[in-house]
């Protein structure tokens, strides 16, 4: 099962420039979470801070008791083996073929025989649709292929925590849809905790169990997907509808005058419909995170805003009574996977 990631009071600045401050959230074990945010809000910085590549000046990131910010390097290196990180640009080794790139973690950290390595690598390459390109150098393939190769490399050690930095950028809509499905299938197969950073609305609407949004140097919110998807917070609503009217401007934030002008003529947002979450492909096991999330979210229910509560209850309606009795597959269109693993709330 995946590993829980607890982020507490994280603050990161580059020199005088504060990227975000006091970010606290918990990625529940085995669930898929999405972090939204306009470009330049520090999503990549956030991922790199979780994995310990960047050192925030305050706060903690706890994984299995190791603080990825302040623990000794040795512990951090050990803990990183639990991770698979897909970089925004793939970050493949330019001097190695795709095959060697994807085989790299296996050769470094396992004593597998070359034939075994070959089998695993080819399996992962098939998963991301790269069969036939194994001999190419990263410089010889398209950006989308590099990203998929980066994903394959991140998956090769069966990580417990998968971080994806904008998996969709550089991919066409069809490939993005396949990728969304791939991410859900992956979660069903290895039950890893996943955090996907993106500004793709399709992924945001159909993939995650939980969703958060970074804006204006703060975490706007983080919680079950229904909370964000039904939120009437202007930033969230604007982002999810992809419109110009709202607090988000071209250079991240609008000036007061523009905003005031817009507020005099408030344009109502079209009501958003909650798209059902993707299910694993037929033939795959159902996601183990689903019943856990269900338990967890139902326990959280009283504290949630009304629209979110209604949406959650609707999505869980067919399954009947709350927590504890979750035996069968969660019915209905929304596999709102729920997770009890996180914490006291569920027990």
């Amino acid at each position: 099962m995946g590993t829980e990631v607890v982020v507490e009071g994280l603050t990161k600045s580059f020199g005088k420039q504060n990227v975000w401050q006091d970010v606290s959230l918990t990625l529940p074990a085995g669930e898929v979470s999405v972090m939204l945010g306009p470009s330049g809000t520090g999503k990549t910085v956030f991922l790199k801070s979780i994995i310990g590549l960047l050192k925030p000046e305050r706060g903690r990131v706890l994984i299995d008791g190791v603080d990825m910010v302040n623990s000794p390097e040795r512990d951090i290196y050990e803990t990183r083996k639990l991770f698979g990180l897909m970089f925004q640009d793939g970050a493949l080794f330019g001097s190695m073929s795709l095959f060697d790139n994807i085989a790299f973690p296996l050769r470094e950290h396992t004593r597998k025989k070359e034939s075994e390595i070959r089998r695993i690598v080819m399996e992962r390459m098939e998963m991301v649709g790269l069969v036939g390109a194994e001999g190419k150098l990263p410089g010889e393939i398209s950006g989308g292929m590099r990203k998929r190769a980066g994903l394959a490399r991140a998956l090769v050690l069966d990580p417990q925590i998968i971080l994806c930095d904008e998996p969709d950028s550089g991919l066409d809509p069809v490939r993005t849809a396949y990728l969304s499905q791939l991410l859900i299938d992956l979660n069903a197969q290895i039950d890893a905790t996943m955090l996907i950073v993106t500004h793709n609305l399709d992924i945001a609407a159909t993939v995650p169990d939980n969703m958060g949004m970074l804006f204006r140097r703060n975490l706007v919110t983080f919680g079950p997907r229904e909370v964000l998807l039904t939120s009437d917070e202007p930033v969230v609503a604007q982002f999810l509808s992809g419109r110009r009217e709202g607090p988000i401007g071209m250079s991240e934030e609008k000036d007061a005058a523009t905003l005031a002008r817009e507020q005099r003529t408030p344009a109502p947002y079209a009501p958003r419909t909650l798209a059902p979450q993707l299910e694993p492909s037929p033939g795959l096991p159902s996601r183990a995170a689903v019943p856990r999330r269900r338990e967890r979210v139902l326990a959280l229910l009283p504290g949630l805003p009304e629209p979110a509560r209604a949406a959650i209850l609707r999505s869980y309606a067919p399954a009947g009574p709350p927590a504890g009795t979750v035996g069968g597959p969660v019915g209905g269109p929304v596999g709102g996977p729920v997770n009890g693993a996180v914490g006291g709330a569920a027990s």
Binding site: S24, K81, A91, G94, R216, E233, G303, A345
Partner: protein
């Protein structure tokens, strides 16, 4: 416009477990500040005139600014250019500019210590080491040989003419050979390794860094220092030692040739003075210097390559800096080593 900004959805207070219990997937703190934070003080104006964003006066930002305000006299608005005003709350302040060179020096030493430690860590990257050794050797051997002949000649001629003035021609051989072996040879080797090998190492590491290859390596739990830097530094050290031997021999031969042919020195006197003045430790210090210089060249190149500033242009700058810094360091360290050697090892016949 900011005060009535609706708060983000929040769980009701009873549902919030104690911080750290992990039972609460919702944002804490960030969202909470919105309510707890004071409204922006009226009339205070934008405390960050260098920032164009009006949201700077948003409660989210004024909250962290409070500790900064506390540091100034009470009742005083923070000066408009308060540099820490929108950095994180609490004690964190960006380090002072003036300390930057010290910090860089510290990092260089830290890298040197890490490399020294990781040299003994398994698995040793033998293949990378051989490749790098071969590469550094191939780009330095020919220039080193070509430079060392005229250099040996120049020293021989200069020392020869000086000894003639002093009336000590018979010592020309020993004196020029000592100068070549102890000073010229290690420096030539180090300059070539820094200029040809070090710059390539720096550019290679720098471009890997900006392509995020090094980050990717760290994420996969592989240390770039152990994997890439150690083999390179060892390669520059080994090449330096071997090349130093070659340059010493070639330089000495060049000196001999010019002294005997052009200054009418006698071969016998040349060799005799050599054995009268030179001793084995002279050779040792030469090799030790070469070893240390090779280490320095490798470390400085790696350090600059691992920390390029911003984009591809940063890599070019880093290469440039690495060569200059290495040169400066070399001459300084050479001075220290020479002074130490002359103090500690009694000269022959003194």
């Amino acid at each position: 416009m900011t005060a009535d900004h609706p708060g983000p959805p929040r769980p009701a207070p009873p549902a919030t477990p104690a911080p750290g219990s992990g039972g609460e997937p919702f944002a804490r703190g960030a969202a909470g500040d919105h309510v707890r934070g004071p409204a922006a003080p009226p009339g205070r104006g934008n405390p960050h005139p260098y920032e164009t964003h009006p949201y700077e006066t948003h409660p989210h930002e004024t909250h962290p600014a409070r500790p900064a305000a506390n540091r100034t006299a009470p009742g005083h608005a923070p000066p408009p250019t308060e540099p820490v005003a929108h950095s994180a709350p609490g004690a964190y302040r960006p380090p002072a500019r003036a300390l930057a060179p010290l910090r860089e020096t510290g990092r260089l030493f830290a890298l040197a210590a890490t490399v020294a430690r990781d040299m003994f860590r398994r698995p040793f990257q033998f293949r990378e080491f051989v490749e790098q050794f071969w590469f550094v050797a191939s780009v330095t051997i020919l220039p080193a040989a070509l430079v060392s002949i005229p250099f040996g000649a120049v020293i021989a001629l200069q020392v020869g003419s000086l000894t003639q003035q002093l009336g000590a021609q018979s010592f020309t051989g020993g004196a020029s050979v000592l100068a070549v072996i102890q000073q010229a040879s290690p420096l030539i080797v180090a300059l070539l390794i820094a200029g040809a090998g070090g710059s390539a190492i720096c550019a290679d590491l720098g471009s890997r860094k900006i392509r995020e290859e090094l980050d990717a390596m760290e994420v996969m739990g592989v240390s770039p220092v152990q994997r890439l830097v150690v083999p390179r530094v060892l390669a520059t050290m080994l090449v330096a030692v071997l090349l130093n031997g070659m340059v010493s021999v070639v330089g000495t031969l060049g000196g001999y040739f010019f002294n005997v042919i052009m200054q009418d020195g006698t071969p016998g006197a040349y060799l005799a003075s050599f054995s009268a003045l030179a001793q084995l430790p002279d050779l040792w210090i030469s090799e030790i210097k070469a070893l240390i210089f090779g280490f320095l060249a490798g470390i400085v190149a790696a350090h600059r390559g691992l920390n390029p500033r911003g984009g591809p242009k940063g890599v070019g700058d880093a290469v440039n800096q690495s060569v200059v810094i290495t040169f400066l360091l070399l001459f300084f360290v050479n001075m220290v080593l020479t002074a130490l050697y002359l103090q500690l090892v009694p000269a022959k016949g003194a």
